[in-house]
Each structure stands twice: as C-alpha cells, then as structure tokens.
Symmetry: C2
Subunit: 325 residues, 2 copies
Amino acid sequence: MNDILANDFGIARELSVVEDTLRRSVRSESPLLTEIAMHVIEAGGKRIRPAICILAFRAVGGRDEKLRAAIDAAVAVELIHSATLIHDDITDEGETRRGRVTAYRKYGVHNALVAGDFLFVQGFKYGQFLHPDSIRIAAEAYERLAEGEMLQEQWKNSVSVPEEEYLKIISGKTASVFSASAQLGAFHGGGTDDEIFMLGEYGTNIGIAFQIVDDVLDIISDEHEIGKSVGNDLKEGNMTLPLIYAMQDGVDRELLAQIISRKNKPPELIRSAMEMVRKSSGVRRSIERAQYFVRKAKEDIEPLRQSVYKEQLMRLADSVATRKY
Amino acid sequence: MNDILANDFGIARELSVVEDTLRRSVRSESPLLTEIAMHVIEAGGKRIRPAICILAFRAVGGRDEKLRAAIDAAVAVELIHSATLIHDDITDEGETRRGRVTAYRKYGVHNALVAGDFLFVQGFKYGQFLHPDSIRIAAEAYERLAEGEMLQEQWKNSVSVPEEEYLKIISGKTASVFSASAQLGAFHGGGTDDEIFMLGEYGTNIGIAFQIVDDVLDIISDEHEIGKSVGNDLKEGNMTLPLIYAMQDGVDRELLAQIISRKNKPPELIRSAMEMVRKSSGVRRSIERAQYFVRKAKEDIEPLRQSVYKEQLMRLADSVATRKY
C-alpha cells in the first residue's frame, strides 16, 4: 500500500496512542474474535482518518489536556471503519486488502460477519467515553456511508451513472468519514464554528480526492504492488470516475458498456476493459479531478492561522493526490 | 409467532413510546435503507427485551421523570438487536422470520448487510442520549453475544457438544442481552446494587429459558404456524438441547449423529432427524430444563418488594416457558 503516512505528519506520539487504544479495544474472551479483529486492525493502513482528526485538533490550537477526547473520537471512528471494511470485503468478494488475505476468506463469512459486528459494538462501547456531540458527528458520517453504499448498489451494472451521482456516492461512502474526523478534531480542539466548518469541508474534499485516486488505482495498479486485487470496480459493476470518463472518450464505448453491464464478467473481459480505460483519457482526467478536490481542500483551510499543523494538513492533502503516480 | 406479549404486562404506554422512538430512529435519506430497517423493526415481535427493561425499572420503584433514560437504553438495545437479526439471517440462510421473508432474501445480501450496519450505527448514534454506564452495560452484552456466536460456530457439525457448552453458547448469544435489559431498567429506576444484580440474574435465566424454548420450537413446530422455517439448527449443524438430550436417549444415536455431522443435509434427512428427536425424550427434558431456569428467574427476584411490576416479571417468566405447548 502507498505510504501515505510514511511521514507521520509530526504527530507520531498521538498516533501511537491511537494504535495502542485500538488494540486494547478489540480484546475479547473469544480468542478467535480478537484474532479476526486484529487481522483487520493491523491491516489498517496508515490511519489517515485519525491523522486528520489529530491534525485538525492541533491546527485549531487544541492543547494536550483535551487531546484524550480527540483521540477517543478518532478511535471510535476507526473501530467502526474497521467494521465496515470487514463487511465490505464480504459483499465485494475482495480477496486481499493491504497485502493480506481478507478476513472472510481466511475465517469464513460467518466469523467475519460476526467480527465486523463485534467491531461495531466496540465502537458503540467506546461511546461511553465520548462527548454526545462527538457521537452524533461520527454516527451521522456512518449514516452517510450506508446511504452511499445503497446508492452505489442502485446504480450497479449501469453504464449511465452521471458524474454528479458518482460524486454523491463517494461523498457518502468515503468523504463523510474524512469530514467527520476533521470536525471531531476541530471540535475537541476548541475550534470556532467557522473552523469546525472549514475543516469539515477540507475533510470532505480530501475524502473525495482519496476515493477518486483509489478508483484510479483499481484500474492502473499492479495487484502485487498495491497489495489488493485490482479491477474490482469493473468486476462489481461499479461505475467509477475513470470509467465514466472513458465512456465519454475515444474508446470503443459499445464494447466497454457491454462489459460493464454484464453481471458476470470473466477475468479476460475485465482485463480488456481495464486496458481500454487505461488507453483512454479517463485516468488522466480523473487524476486532474482529484487534484482539483485537493486544491479545494487546501483553499478550505487557507483562513486557518499559520501553524506547523496547518502546513501538515496541506501536505496531507497533497499526498492524497500524489500516491503512487 | 407466539403471543408472548399479547398481554402488555401493564406497560402498554411505555412500550408504545419505545415503538415510536424505534421507528423515528431508522429514518434515512435513503428510502431503501429506511424500508429495510423498518422491515426488520416491524417484524420485531413482542419487544420482550424492552418490556423486561421497563418492568425492571418499575419494579425497583423507577418514577416517570427517569423513565426516558430507561426507554432510551431499551431503544439502543433493540436497534442493535435488530442489526444482529438481519446479519444472523444472512449467515443462517433463514428464509422467513416472524412470518415475513427475511431481509436478505427480499433485498439481497449486500443491501441487508448494509442495513444491518446502518442499524448498528443508529444504536451507536443513540449513545449520545445514554448514560455512560448504560452504554457499557449494553455493549458488554453484545460482546457476549458475538462471543456466543463464535463459540457456536466452533462447535458446528459436532455431535459431542456438552450441555454446559451449549449453556455457555446461549448465555452469550441470547441471555446476555436479556440480562442487560433488566440491569438497564433497574439501574435507571434507581435500584440498589443488589437489585440490579438480582434483576440481571433474572434476565440471564429467562434468556436461557427463552432460547431453550426457541430451540425446542425449531424441532416441534409447524412452519406455517410459527412463521419461520423449522429444523434450522439441524440444517446449520448447531447442537441444541433437544438434540443433545436425544443423543443420550433411546433413538438411533449412530444415525442421528451421522445426519447432524453432515455438512450438507437434504431436506428429507432433516425431516427424519426431527422425527427422531420428537420421538425421543429430548423435547420433554428440554422443556423441563427451560422450566427449571424459569423457576430460577422467579427465585432471583423473590426478594424484590411486592409490586404489580414484580408480579408482571413473574408472569413474563412463566410465559417464556409456556409459549405454544
């Protein structure tokens, strides 16, 4: 996986507390339940959502005595995020995630589903340490996520997804949680309403950029290099931005449309569709679109007072758009 | 389904507030998400868990000004309960629940799984209204539930499940949430530590009785009459109490063991296994065992001061053991 947080953005200490707390939160009397939860937590990547939360906290002037509340909010968000990852892999039939075999493949659908539920419950349990407003902000983001997933499902195998609809889907399924993470940090850091709002916008925009880049990587990546299977969106019949743009382009629209709208796609058809999209302007235009949202994100937080954390938020935005290409 | 709460136990007003709150809690911008959540909420049966919560609240002398907190706790418990029902049906491949086709059959696995997650999130969101201790009590019960599910899975297709292990499984997957419901009611009603403890024990014991009766019904019921498919435990390879007892009995153990341990069981084999269990002493002995736990539950709350609500808790315990036979 891309080392988006290879640099720790100057918050290594805070992120290590997040990490410890996460690991402590998934202990259970069922060793297998702990093992599956840890399987997902450990494959949890670079903790970009907690990083956004903590940077936002610091950027509005959050002091150490309030840090615990921000970290607790970040942990609850990450626990529920991990729950949704397990369940996503079940429905998407993902084979690997971040270089590891997915939980349902390793432990079976039943156990993976229950472990996802267990992680939801741990998120709920963590609510005992949270401010009521934190619970509301985090929960509303995950409501948006579920709505985004439903919307995506409704467009499944359709080639005529408008770009605005795609943006609505990814705003729900990805950007809402990025936005909530930033808002939670700003809220606990004692940010003004304006600051909480602008950091929420920042989160939304880098979340959108992040998902567009993910969707591009699903088309252009080498499977072994990014540690997860590729061509999944095509296989699942999800119309992503590179596909939407490719359909507007010089590729053989008819053929691409036929492949996308098929319910069962043999691997060779997926490969040839990927090839068509790669040869189209879809990839380049999608990257440009991601860069546009990164610029918007950076503009969102321009009014924040100068600080090392504001600079790190700017860097984090840039790194979202520049991973791996 | 058995009309376990055909009588409303003198708390009709409180239960109708639970009902309204539940329905309000599953509103979403995705009409389909609301529809699936409502599909499950409406098939939610007799609200035995909220009823236990409210009766426990009243039985320790809880007054109207604290009622809202108890109802909120009951709603959170019921939202998460509904989430687990949707997910259970997916892994158990249940076809009907309370006379309705299951959510995943009607809406597909993806949508049902997401709707379950959405209900978890609504439970989490509801945490903003809860006392931190309420969150902890409810969450720990659902942790036990997940652990019970895992334990059951580990014994799948095994004929040698000891009775104590079966009791451990159902204590986790069913009784823990009954116990939490009672504890939450007693806690918010201002009960003493002793009262909270004894009501927790009461909940555990009627939860165990409730699950044993469920497992008996899965063997002896008529599918159309109880509104859900029968023989599921056999089909799924879950060793329940009537099966454990049947194996100790005059039935053809070898043949029954062969059927139970088969991974794929054709319907005619399931029917003949059900017939064997019905002819054994397994059903009668299981019912006696359920009655034993009902008696224990009633003894648990004997020390409570006399009140109409204590009497109702006694009646509720009795009705758990007497549904449908």
